[in-house]
Amino acid sequence: MKKIYASATEALDGLLHDGMFIAAGGFGLCGIPELLLEAIRDAGVTDLTFASNNAGVDDFGIGILLQTKQVKKMLSSYVGENDLFMQQYLSGELEIEFNPQGTLAERMRAGGAGIPGFYTRTGVGTQVAEGKEHKEFRGETYIMEEGIFADISIVKAWKADETGNAIFRKTARNFNVPAATCGKVCIMEVEEIVPTGSLDPDLIHLPGIYVHRLIQGEHEKRIEQRTTRKKETA
Protein backbone atom coordinates (compact mmCIF):
# COMPACT_ATOMS: atom_id res chain seq x y z
CA MET A 1 0.00 0.00 0.00
CA LYS A 2 1.91 2.97 -1.31
CA LYS A 3 0.00 6.21 -1.01
CA ILE A 4 2.75 8.80 -0.99
CA TYR A 5 3.57 10.59 -4.25
CA ALA A 6 6.38 13.03 -4.95
CA SER A 7 4.28 15.87 -6.36
CA ALA A 8 0.71 16.98 -7.02
CA THR A 9 1.17 16.26 -10.74
CA GLU A 10 2.32 12.70 -10.05
CA ALA A 11 -0.49 12.15 -7.57
CA LEU A 12 -3.05 13.11 -10.25
CA ASP A 13 -1.44 11.00 -12.98
CA GLY A 14 -3.97 8.84 -14.82
CA LEU A 15 -6.94 10.31 -12.96
CA LEU A 16 -7.78 13.45 -14.93
CA HIS A 17 -10.01 13.72 -17.99
CA ASP A 18 -12.14 16.40 -19.66
CA GLY A 19 -15.69 16.72 -18.32
CA MET A 20 -14.95 15.13 -14.97
CA PHE A 21 -16.63 15.86 -11.64
CA ILE A 22 -14.35 16.95 -8.78
CA ALA A 23 -15.27 17.49 -5.11
CA ALA A 24 -12.95 19.98 -3.42
CA GLY A 25 -12.44 20.81 0.26
CA GLY A 26 -11.94 24.25 1.77
CA PHE A 27 -13.99 27.23 2.91
CA GLY A 28 -13.10 30.55 1.30
CA LEU A 29 -9.32 30.26 0.96
CA CYS A 30 -9.01 28.36 4.23
CA GLY A 31 -7.93 24.73 3.90
CA ILE A 32 -8.10 24.62 0.11
CA PRO A 33 -6.06 22.04 -1.84
CA GLU A 34 -3.95 24.76 -3.45
CA LEU A 35 -1.22 22.48 -4.84
CA LEU A 36 -3.65 20.05 -6.47
CA LEU A 37 -5.60 22.94 -8.03
CA GLU A 38 -2.38 24.26 -9.59
CA ALA A 39 -1.57 20.81 -10.93
CA ILE A 40 -5.07 20.51 -12.46
CA ARG A 41 -4.55 23.88 -14.12
CA ASP A 42 -1.20 22.73 -15.51
CA ALA A 43 -2.73 19.49 -16.77
CA GLY A 44 -5.09 21.56 -18.93
CA VAL A 45 -8.20 19.36 -18.58
CA THR A 46 -11.40 21.24 -19.43
CA ASP A 47 -15.21 21.17 -18.97
CA LEU A 48 -14.75 20.43 -15.27
CA THR A 49 -17.60 20.40 -12.76
CA PHE A 50 -16.63 21.29 -9.20
CA ALA A 51 -18.54 20.70 -6.00
CA SER A 52 -16.87 23.29 -3.77
CA ASN A 53 -18.39 25.67 -1.24
CA ASN A 54 -16.65 28.67 -2.85
CA ALA A 55 -14.83 29.47 -6.08
CA GLY A 56 -11.70 31.03 -4.58
CA VAL A 57 -10.66 34.56 -5.57
CA ASP A 58 -9.58 35.72 -9.03
CA ASP A 59 -5.96 34.55 -8.69
CA PHE A 60 -6.09 31.84 -6.01
CA GLY A 61 -7.99 28.63 -5.38
CA ILE A 62 -10.48 27.54 -8.04
CA GLY A 63 -10.13 31.09 -9.44
CA ILE A 64 -6.94 30.00 -11.25
CA LEU A 65 -9.02 27.44 -13.21
CA LEU A 66 -11.57 30.11 -14.12
CA GLN A 67 -8.77 32.24 -15.57
CA THR A 68 -7.92 29.38 -17.93
CA LYS A 69 -11.64 28.62 -18.57
CA GLN A 70 -11.28 24.99 -17.49
CA VAL A 71 -14.48 25.03 -15.40
CA LYS A 72 -17.90 24.39 -16.93
CA LYS A 73 -20.04 24.20 -13.81
CA MET A 74 -19.89 24.89 -10.08
CA LEU A 75 -21.98 23.46 -7.23
CA SER A 76 -21.40 26.09 -4.54
CA SER A 77 -23.14 28.01 -1.77
CA TYR A 78 -21.34 31.35 -2.14
CA VAL A 79 -19.20 32.81 -4.90
CA GLY A 80 -19.28 36.49 -3.90
CA GLU A 81 -15.50 36.85 -3.55
CA ASN A 82 -14.74 36.13 -7.19
CA ASP A 83 -15.34 38.87 -9.81
CA LEU A 84 -14.13 36.64 -12.63
CA PHE A 85 -16.74 34.11 -11.65
CA MET A 86 -19.46 36.75 -11.91
CA GLN A 87 -18.27 37.85 -15.37
CA GLN A 88 -18.16 34.31 -16.73
CA TYR A 89 -21.51 33.48 -15.16
CA LEU A 90 -23.25 36.57 -16.54
CA SER A 91 -21.79 35.95 -20.02
CA GLY A 92 -23.11 32.36 -19.93
CA GLU A 93 -19.67 30.68 -20.03
CA LEU A 94 -20.09 29.17 -16.58
CA GLU A 95 -23.01 27.33 -15.01
CA ILE A 96 -23.78 27.58 -11.31
CA GLU A 97 -25.99 25.38 -9.19
CA PHE A 98 -26.42 27.16 -5.87
CA ASN A 99 -26.66 24.74 -2.96
CA PRO A 100 -27.36 25.88 0.59
CA GLN A 101 -24.09 25.38 2.46
CA GLY A 102 -25.40 22.70 4.80
CA THR A 103 -27.13 20.90 1.95
CA LEU A 104 -23.87 20.88 -0.01
CA ALA A 105 -21.95 19.48 2.98
CA GLU A 106 -24.59 16.83 3.60
CA ARG A 107 -24.76 15.89 -0.10
CA MET A 108 -21.01 15.17 0.06
CA ARG A 109 -21.30 13.31 3.37
CA ALA A 110 -24.25 11.29 2.05
CA GLY A 111 -22.44 10.40 -1.19
CA GLY A 112 -19.45 9.22 0.79
CA ALA A 113 -21.66 7.17 3.09
CA GLY A 114 -23.54 5.42 0.26
CA ILE A 115 -26.73 7.42 0.71
CA PRO A 116 -28.13 8.49 -2.70
CA GLY A 117 -30.74 10.91 -1.31
CA PHE A 118 -32.03 12.48 1.89
CA TYR A 119 -34.74 14.86 3.03
CA THR A 120 -34.12 18.30 4.49
CA ARG A 121 -36.21 21.29 5.53
CA THR A 122 -33.53 23.67 4.20
CA GLY A 123 -34.79 25.55 1.15
CA VAL A 124 -38.48 24.57 1.40
CA GLY A 125 -40.55 27.36 -0.17
CA THR A 126 -37.55 28.83 -2.03
CA GLN A 127 -36.02 28.52 -5.52
CA VAL A 128 -33.87 25.68 -4.19
CA ALA A 129 -36.97 23.49 -3.77
CA GLU A 130 -38.20 23.94 -7.35
CA GLY A 131 -38.48 20.62 -9.20
CA LYS A 132 -37.55 18.55 -6.14
CA GLU A 133 -39.64 15.88 -4.43
CA HIS A 134 -41.53 17.22 -1.41
CA LYS A 135 -42.54 14.91 1.42
CA GLU A 136 -44.27 15.33 4.77
CA PHE A 137 -42.70 13.93 7.93
CA ARG A 138 -44.39 14.51 11.29
CA GLY A 139 -46.46 17.38 9.86
CA GLU A 140 -43.50 19.26 8.32
CA THR A 141 -42.55 19.56 4.66
CA TYR A 142 -39.10 18.42 3.51
CA ILE A 143 -37.40 18.30 0.11
CA MET A 144 -35.24 15.54 -1.26
CA GLU A 145 -31.60 16.28 -2.03
CA GLU A 146 -29.22 13.87 -3.72
CA GLY A 147 -25.86 12.59 -2.51
CA ILE A 148 -22.79 13.70 -4.45
CA PHE A 149 -20.71 10.98 -6.10
CA ALA A 150 -17.63 12.62 -7.60
CA ASP A 151 -14.93 11.17 -9.86
CA ILE A 152 -12.19 12.43 -7.56
CA SER A 153 -11.88 14.35 -4.30
CA ILE A 154 -9.12 16.88 -3.73
CA VAL A 155 -8.55 17.94 -0.13
CA LYS A 156 -5.99 19.49 2.18
CA ALA A 157 -5.11 18.41 5.72
CA TRP A 158 -2.51 19.55 8.24
CA LYS A 159 -0.75 16.25 8.95
CA ALA A 160 -1.17 12.70 7.80
CA ASP A 161 0.69 9.50 8.51
CA GLU A 162 1.96 7.29 5.68
CA THR A 163 -1.37 5.38 5.61
CA GLY A 164 -3.36 8.58 5.11
CA ASN A 165 -4.78 8.93 8.62
CA ALA A 166 -5.22 12.69 8.75
CA ILE A 167 -5.68 15.54 11.17
CA PHE A 168 -6.79 19.05 10.33
CA ARG A 169 -6.00 22.31 12.02
CA LYS A 170 -8.68 24.67 13.46
CA THR A 171 -11.29 25.86 10.93
CA ALA A 172 -9.30 24.47 7.99
CA ARG A 173 -11.16 21.16 8.48
CA ASN A 174 -14.45 22.55 7.05
CA PHE A 175 -15.49 20.83 3.80
CA ASN A 176 -12.33 18.71 3.60
CA VAL A 177 -13.82 15.82 5.55
CA PRO A 178 -17.11 15.42 3.64
CA ALA A 179 -15.39 16.17 0.31
CA ALA A 180 -12.73 13.51 0.95
CA THR A 181 -15.35 10.81 1.34
CA CYS A 182 -17.48 11.41 -1.78
CA GLY A 183 -14.97 10.85 -4.61
CA LYS A 184 -14.07 7.48 -6.14
CA VAL A 185 -10.41 8.44 -5.58
CA CYS A 186 -9.30 10.95 -2.95
CA ILE A 187 -6.05 12.84 -3.32
CA MET A 188 -4.87 14.68 -0.22
CA GLU A 189 -2.17 17.31 0.18
CA VAL A 190 -0.71 17.94 3.64
CA GLU A 191 1.80 20.23 5.27
CA GLU A 192 3.58 17.28 6.82
CA ILE A 193 3.63 13.52 6.36
CA VAL A 194 4.62 11.93 9.67
CA PRO A 195 5.72 8.34 10.35
CA THR A 196 2.89 5.86 10.80
CA GLY A 197 2.32 5.40 14.52
CA SER A 198 3.19 8.94 15.50
CA LEU A 199 -0.39 10.27 15.47
CA ASP A 200 -2.68 9.43 18.39
CA PRO A 201 -5.29 7.04 16.92
CA ASP A 202 -7.93 8.62 19.16
CA LEU A 203 -7.37 12.00 17.53
CA ILE A 204 -7.63 11.09 13.83
CA HIS A 205 -10.19 13.33 12.06
CA LEU A 206 -10.24 11.39 8.78
CA PRO A 207 -9.22 7.70 8.70
CA GLY A 208 -6.80 6.71 5.96
CA ILE A 209 -9.36 4.42 4.29
CA TYR A 210 -10.71 7.52 2.55
CA VAL A 211 -7.30 8.70 1.29
CA HIS A 212 -5.81 7.02 -1.79
CA ARG A 213 -2.97 9.32 -2.76
CA LEU A 214 -1.00 11.64 -0.54
CA ILE A 215 1.49 14.46 -1.10
CA GLN A 216 3.39 16.81 1.15
CA GLY A 217 4.12 20.37 0.05
CA GLU A 218 4.63 24.03 0.86
CA HIS A 219 1.39 25.99 1.22
CA GLU A 220 0.88 29.70 0.73
CA LYS A 221 -2.25 29.67 2.98
CA ARG A 222 -3.44 33.10 1.86
CA ILE A 223 -5.65 35.14 4.22
CA GLU A 224 -8.78 36.53 2.57
CA GLN A 225 -9.95 39.09 5.18
CA ARG A 226 -7.23 40.11 7.59
CA THR A 227 -9.07 41.56 10.61
CA THR A 228 -7.34 42.52 13.84
CA ARG A 229 -7.93 44.42 17.07
CA LYS A 230 -5.72 46.79 19.02
CA LYS A 231 -3.68 45.30 21.82
CA GLU A 232 -5.53 46.00 25.07
CA THR A 233 -3.59 48.18 27.47
CA ALA A 234 -3.96 46.97 31.03
Binding site: F27, G28, L29, C30, G31, N53, S76, S77, Y78, V79, G80, E81, M86, Y89, L90, I96, F98, P100, Q101, G102, T103, L104, A105, E106, M108, R109, T120, R121, T122, G123, V124, G125, T126, Q127, V128, W158, F168, R169, K170, T171, A172, R173, N174, F175, N176, V177, P178, H205, K221, R222, I223, E224, Q225, R226, T227, T228, R229, K230, K231
Partner: protein, 207 residues
Protein backbone atom coordinates in the same frame (compact mmCIF):
# COMPACT_ATOMS: atom_id res chain seq x y z
CA UNK B 1 -34.05 59.35 17.76
CA UNK B 2 -33.97 56.09 15.83
CA UNK B 3 -31.39 53.55 16.98
CA UNK B 4 -27.98 53.51 15.30
CA UNK B 5 -26.18 50.30 14.28
CA UNK B 6 -24.68 49.76 17.72
CA UNK B 7 -27.95 50.42 19.52
CA UNK B 8 -29.72 47.92 17.25
CA UNK B 9 -27.03 45.36 18.08
CA UNK B 10 -27.41 46.17 21.80
CA UNK B 11 -31.17 45.64 21.55
CA UNK B 12 -30.65 42.33 19.75
CA UNK B 13 -28.27 41.19 22.50
CA UNK B 14 -31.13 41.55 25.00
CA UNK B 15 -32.85 38.64 23.22
CA UNK B 16 -30.03 36.28 24.17
CA UNK B 17 -30.17 34.25 27.36
CA UNK B 18 -27.53 32.67 29.50
CA UNK B 19 -26.29 29.36 28.13
CA UNK B 20 -27.40 29.90 24.53
CA UNK B 21 -25.48 28.73 21.48
CA UNK B 22 -25.95 31.46 18.85
CA UNK B 23 -24.99 32.12 15.23
CA UNK B 24 -24.39 35.73 14.22
CA UNK B 25 -24.52 36.87 10.60
CA UNK B 26 -22.35 39.42 8.85
CA UNK B 27 -22.76 43.19 9.38
CA UNK B 28 -24.77 44.59 12.31
CA UNK B 29 -25.36 41.06 13.73
CA UNK B 30 -21.58 40.71 14.25
CA UNK B 31 -21.73 43.74 16.60
CA UNK B 32 -24.17 41.88 18.89
CA UNK B 33 -21.16 40.05 20.39
CA UNK B 34 -20.04 43.37 21.90
CA UNK B 35 -23.19 43.66 24.02
CA UNK B 36 -23.73 40.23 25.61
CA UNK B 37 -22.17 41.48 28.85
CA UNK B 38 -22.00 38.87 31.62
CA UNK B 39 -24.28 36.42 29.82
CA UNK B 40 -22.69 33.06 29.01
CA UNK B 41 -23.16 32.93 25.22
CA UNK B 42 -21.29 30.55 22.90
CA UNK B 43 -20.98 31.78 19.31
CA UNK B 44 -21.11 29.29 16.46
CA UNK B 45 -19.35 29.96 13.19
CA UNK B 46 -20.85 27.69 10.53
CA UNK B 47 -17.53 26.98 8.83
CA UNK B 48 -16.82 24.67 11.77
CA UNK B 49 -16.36 26.24 15.19
CA UNK B 50 -18.13 26.71 18.51
CA UNK B 51 -16.73 29.28 20.90
CA UNK B 52 -15.63 32.01 18.52
CA UNK B 53 -13.32 34.60 20.06
CA UNK B 54 -12.55 38.21 19.07
CA UNK B 55 -10.37 39.35 16.17
CA UNK B 56 -6.66 38.58 16.75
CA UNK B 57 -4.12 41.13 17.85
CA UNK B 58 -2.11 42.35 14.87
CA UNK B 59 0.61 39.86 14.03
CA UNK B 60 -1.30 36.93 15.52
CA UNK B 61 -3.58 36.24 12.53
CA UNK B 62 -3.82 32.54 11.64
CA UNK B 63 -4.87 31.57 8.09
CA UNK B 64 -6.35 28.34 9.51
CA UNK B 65 -8.65 30.25 11.86
CA UNK B 66 -11.41 32.27 10.22
CA UNK B 67 -15.12 32.91 10.70
CA UNK B 68 -17.92 32.43 8.18
CA UNK B 69 -17.24 35.93 6.84
CA UNK B 70 -13.67 34.77 6.04
CA UNK B 71 -12.26 37.15 8.69
CA UNK B 72 -9.37 36.13 10.92
CA UNK B 73 -10.54 35.41 14.48
CA UNK B 74 -9.30 33.71 17.66
CA UNK B 75 -10.29 30.73 19.79
CA UNK B 76 -11.38 30.61 23.43
CA UNK B 77 -10.76 28.03 26.16
CA UNK B 78 -14.15 26.46 25.33
CA UNK B 79 -13.61 26.29 21.56
CA UNK B 80 -14.38 23.15 19.59
CA UNK B 81 -13.70 22.61 15.86
CA UNK B 82 -15.56 20.29 13.50
CA UNK B 83 -16.23 19.72 9.81
CA UNK B 84 -18.94 21.42 7.71
CA UNK B 85 -21.31 18.42 7.69
CA UNK B 86 -21.20 18.27 11.51
CA UNK B 87 -21.62 22.04 11.69
CA UNK B 88 -24.78 22.02 9.65
CA UNK B 89 -25.94 18.92 11.47
CA UNK B 90 -26.13 21.00 14.65
CA UNK B 91 -27.82 23.85 12.74
CA UNK B 92 -30.36 21.69 10.90
CA UNK B 93 -30.83 19.55 14.00
CA UNK B 94 -32.10 22.50 16.04
CA UNK B 95 -29.18 22.61 18.51
CA UNK B 96 -28.46 26.30 17.88
CA UNK B 97 -30.84 28.42 19.97
CA UNK B 98 -30.89 31.52 17.77
CA UNK B 99 -29.56 33.10 14.62
CA UNK B 100 -29.28 36.87 14.22
CA UNK B 101 -28.98 37.98 10.63
CA UNK B 102 -29.53 40.85 8.22
CA UNK B 103 -32.24 41.04 5.56
CA UNK B 104 -33.20 42.77 2.34
CA UNK B 105 -36.93 42.12 2.84
CA UNK B 106 -39.17 40.49 5.45
CA UNK B 107 -42.88 39.77 5.00
CA UNK B 108 -45.67 39.95 7.56
CA UNK B 109 -45.77 36.12 7.49
CA UNK B 110 -42.13 35.92 8.47
CA UNK B 111 -40.80 35.19 4.98
CA UNK B 112 -37.19 36.30 4.60
CA UNK B 113 -35.27 37.45 1.51
CA UNK B 114 -31.58 38.16 1.96
CA UNK B 115 -29.56 36.30 -0.63
CA UNK B 116 -30.24 37.40 -4.18
CA UNK B 117 -31.30 40.30 -6.40
CA UNK B 118 -32.00 38.72 -9.81
CA UNK B 119 -29.74 40.16 -12.52
CA UNK B 120 -27.76 42.24 -10.01
CA UNK B 121 -26.50 40.41 -6.97
CA UNK B 122 -25.88 36.71 -7.55
CA UNK B 123 -23.46 35.65 -4.85
CA UNK B 124 -25.25 32.73 -3.24
CA UNK B 125 -27.06 31.95 -0.02
CA UNK B 126 -24.10 30.56 1.92
CA UNK B 127 -25.48 29.01 5.11
CA UNK B 128 -28.46 31.35 5.49
CA UNK B 129 -31.11 28.91 4.20
CA UNK B 130 -29.90 26.16 6.54
CA UNK B 131 -29.79 28.54 9.50
CA UNK B 132 -33.30 29.95 9.10
CA UNK B 133 -34.73 26.45 8.53
CA UNK B 134 -32.97 24.90 11.49
CA UNK B 135 -32.29 27.17 14.46
CA UNK B 136 -34.68 27.77 17.35
CA UNK B 137 -35.31 31.46 16.84
CA UNK B 138 -34.57 33.74 13.87
CA UNK B 139 -33.96 37.40 14.69
CA UNK B 140 -33.56 39.87 11.84
CA UNK B 141 -31.63 43.11 12.41
CA UNK B 142 -31.89 45.67 9.62
CA UNK B 143 -32.77 49.26 8.73
CA UNK B 144 -36.52 49.74 8.54
CA UNK B 145 -36.35 51.14 5.00
CA UNK B 146 -33.90 50.76 2.12
CA UNK B 147 -31.52 53.42 0.77
CA UNK B 148 -34.36 54.89 -1.32
CA UNK B 149 -36.55 55.16 1.80
CA UNK B 150 -38.83 52.33 0.68
CA UNK B 151 -40.21 49.86 3.24
CA UNK B 152 -38.36 46.56 3.76
CA UNK B 153 -41.14 45.05 5.90
CA UNK B 154 -43.66 44.04 3.26
CA UNK B 155 -46.95 42.19 2.75
CA UNK B 156 -45.07 39.80 0.44
CA UNK B 157 -41.36 39.67 -0.36
CA UNK B 158 -40.54 40.62 -3.96
CA UNK B 159 -37.04 39.06 -3.96
CA UNK B 160 -36.24 35.31 -4.02
CA UNK B 161 -36.81 33.86 -0.55
CA UNK B 162 -34.22 32.53 1.87
CA UNK B 163 -36.95 30.91 3.94
CA UNK B 164 -40.73 30.87 4.22
CA UNK B 165 -42.38 31.76 7.53
CA UNK B 166 -39.07 31.62 9.41
CA UNK B 167 -38.61 35.06 11.07
CA UNK B 168 -39.61 35.42 14.72
CA UNK B 169 -38.44 38.96 15.55
CA UNK B 170 -37.47 42.04 13.53
CA UNK B 171 -35.24 44.68 15.13
CA UNK B 172 -34.90 47.85 13.06
CA UNK B 173 -33.63 51.37 13.64
CA UNK B 174 -37.25 52.35 14.46
CA UNK B 175 -38.27 49.58 16.86
CA UNK B 176 -38.96 45.90 17.45
CA UNK B 177 -41.64 43.88 15.67
CA UNK B 178 -42.73 40.37 16.57
CA UNK B 179 -44.07 37.92 14.00
CA UNK B 180 -46.65 35.37 15.11
CA UNK B 181 -49.45 33.40 13.44
CA UNK B 182 -51.76 36.44 13.58
CA UNK B 183 -49.26 38.81 11.93
CA UNK B 184 -46.88 41.60 12.91
CA UNK B 185 -46.93 43.36 16.27
CA UNK B 186 -44.94 46.40 17.36
CA UNK B 187 -43.57 45.44 20.76
CA UNK B 188 -41.15 48.33 21.25
CA UNK B 189 -40.32 51.69 19.69
CA UNK B 190 -36.93 53.40 19.57
CA UNK B 191 -36.81 56.51 21.81
CA UNK B 192 -38.81 59.35 20.24
CA UNK B 193 -40.23 57.14 17.47
CA UNK B 194 -44.01 56.72 17.47
CA UNK B 195 -46.03 53.66 16.49
CA UNK B 196 -47.58 55.72 13.69
CA UNK B 197 -44.12 56.53 12.32
CA UNK B 198 -43.30 52.80 12.27
CA UNK B 199 -46.62 52.03 10.56
CA UNK B 200 -45.95 54.74 7.95
CA UNK B 201 -42.54 53.20 7.15
CA UNK B 202 -43.99 49.68 6.90
CA UNK B 203 -45.91 48.25 3.95
CA UNK B 204 -47.04 45.16 5.85
CA UNK B 205 -50.16 45.12 7.99
CA UNK B 206 -49.49 45.67 11.66
CA UNK B 207 -51.95 43.97 13.99
Amino acid sequence: MPWDRNQMAERAAQELEDGMYVNLGIGIPTLVANYVGEKDITLQSENGMLGMGPFPIEGEEDPDLINAGKQTITELSRTAYFDSATSFGMIRGGKIAAAILGAMEVSEKGDLANWMIPGKLVKGMGGAMDLVAGVGRVIVVMDHTNKKGEPKVLKECTLPLTGKGVVDLIITNLGVLEVDHKGLHIIETAPGVTRDEIKAATEANIV
